[in-house]
Amino acid sequence: MHLALFLIFGAVCVGAAINLLVQKHPINSALSLIVVMGSLALLYLLLGAEFVAAVQVIVYAGAIMVLFVFTIMLLNAGEEEVLPHTSCVAVMLGVPGLIVGLAIGVWVIVRYAGLDRIAIGGPQVLNGTEGFGNPRAVAHLLFRDFLLPFEVTSILVLIAILGAVVLARREE
């Protein structure tokens, strides 16, 4: 069951990501990205991280992508023009090359970080932590174990917002 769901949503995720690159119109690309975010949330859910899954949908698929779509709508961006210099050789060699390179990279990371011990749908195998990924566990991590980094990050985000406001302000 878990494996079937993982394969389905993994395929949806990769398919939408490819569609994101292939689509000519920016709004279609943005919608594909939303599908990617949604299927990622479902993959998190399969790993037993329900809080992260919900946050993924609310923050990424909901809030951030709405701003993307909003900007595309406001600018009324049209279809992208096809680049004249698309080299056939680059496509033929580049795509398989990229896939092989990525596969090797993933294999190395999985092998040396010990991630191959993680089973899909088995939250209990992850360090044997009770309630891993539920809101309470995440809250304990954020507000007790890593309180200082968390608060410092929030200050950093605040500074970034202020910077954006200053940059976007018109000169009087």
């Binding site: 709004i27 698929a61 909901g62 809030a63 709405v66 779509v69 909003f70 709508m73």
Partner: protein, 344 residues
């Protein structure tokens, strides 16, 4: 419970919930027309059946037989996707709302809720944030200036008020210590002095409730915040170009969202299904559902009452109110609630 039985029970629950919700949506349109008519010293629909009770059926038939028009320069796939997305999201949200305690029917022990999940509230918030796309895409794909302006207004409004809405719920979450709507209801059981129930509205979340209600009216694009479909300026806003059942789907989504807001207000602030339970066992089983329905219908009535009473806001007033008043108030509410809980 075996997996087959679980799926069967879930399917029955989904069928019942969708049927009840859609019937409720249909009759809310009638109730709205009736109540607003009486507020304005009119009779409202009274020709189809006694007191106009078959009016929703007549409306439905009319929607089905209307010509379905797609504007020639519309983006067809997205034009079709928008109403589907709106209605799907609106109907899905009801799945996590608990309408009663656990019951045993014919040897099957099950909660009166389609999905009892421990992140119920977050699921509803997530679905709300996805619902924005229905409105945004409807306006953009119609390729019409009125639709576009309506959907820009609606998306900006929904994104802004979602923040105040989410923050207003944090106080309740601090009290309950859980995102599960069922846990939130059970955390409100008991009474003060044997009379006043310990609902969140009476235990200090009074301000949070009003922030929630105001923000929720803006979320559902209802008067006094229906800027996105302001008839006097924008024809009909984001669904100007829609006709027939596609328009009806937006309409149904709006009313289904009203029900979700009413259910959530009941669950979070008014103790859900909690209420005096007495009498024989069958009455004891039905009374919680009765209390829940009464509370939800009361909120639906308030919706209609507000619509019949208040004028529409101006857009700058709407944005200033959301960001400069509701948001700081919601944050202050969180601070005070957290202090109270910490000092206890």
């Amino acid at each position: 419970m075996s997996i087959g039985l679980y799926i069967l029970v879930s399917l029955i629950k989904i069928a019942v919930a969708v049927f009840v919700l859609l019937t409720g949506v249909a009759y809310t349109t009638l109730a709205e027309r009736k109540v607003v008519a009486h507020i304005q010293n009119r009779w409202g629909p009274s020709r189809v059946g006694p007191f106009g009770v078959w009016q929703p059926l007549a409306d439905g038939l009319k929607f089905i037989f209307k010509e379905d028009i797609t504007p020639p320069f519309a983006n067809r796939p997205l034009y079709l996707l928008a109403p589907i997305l709106s209605l799907t999201v609106a109907l899905t949200a009801i799945a996590v709302v608990p309408i009663g305690p656990w019951v045993t029917i014919g040897g099957v022990h099950t909660p009166l809720q389609i999905a009892d999940v421990n992140i119920g509230l977050l699921i509803i918030l997530g679905l709300t944030s996805i619902g924005v796309y229905g409105v945004a895409l409807a306006g953009w794909s119609s390729n019409s200036k009125y639709s576009m302006l309506g959907s820009l207004r609606a998306s900006a409004q929904m994104v802004s008020y979602e923040i105040a809405l989410s923050l207003s719920l944090v106080g309740v979450l601090i009290y309950a210590g859980s995102f599960s709507l069922r846990d939130i209801v059970t955390s409100q059981s008991g009474t003060f002095l044997g009379i006043i129930p310990k609902w969140n509205i009476f235990t200090g979340q009074f301000i949070a409730f009003f922030i929630y209600l105001t923000a929720a009216y803006a979320e559902t694009n209802r008067i006094p915040f229906d800027l996105s479909e302001a008839e006097t300026e924008l024809v009909a806003g984001y669904h100007t170009e829609y006709s027939s059942m596609k328009f009806a789907m937006f309409f149904m989504a709006e009313y289904a969202n009203m029900f979700t807001v009413a259910c959530l207000a009941t669950v979070l602030f008014f103790g859900g299904w909690l209420g005096p339970v007495f009498g024989p066992p069958i009455l004891q089983a039905l009374l919680p559902i009765f209390w829940f329905v009464v509370k939800v219908l009361a909120f639906i009535f308030v919706y209609i009452w507000v619509r019949g009473t208040l004028p529409r806001f101006r857009y700058d007033q709407l944005m200033a109110f959301g960001w400069k008043f509701l948001l700081p108030l919601a944050i202050a509410n969180i601070l005070v609630t957290a202090l109270i809980v910490a000092l206890k």
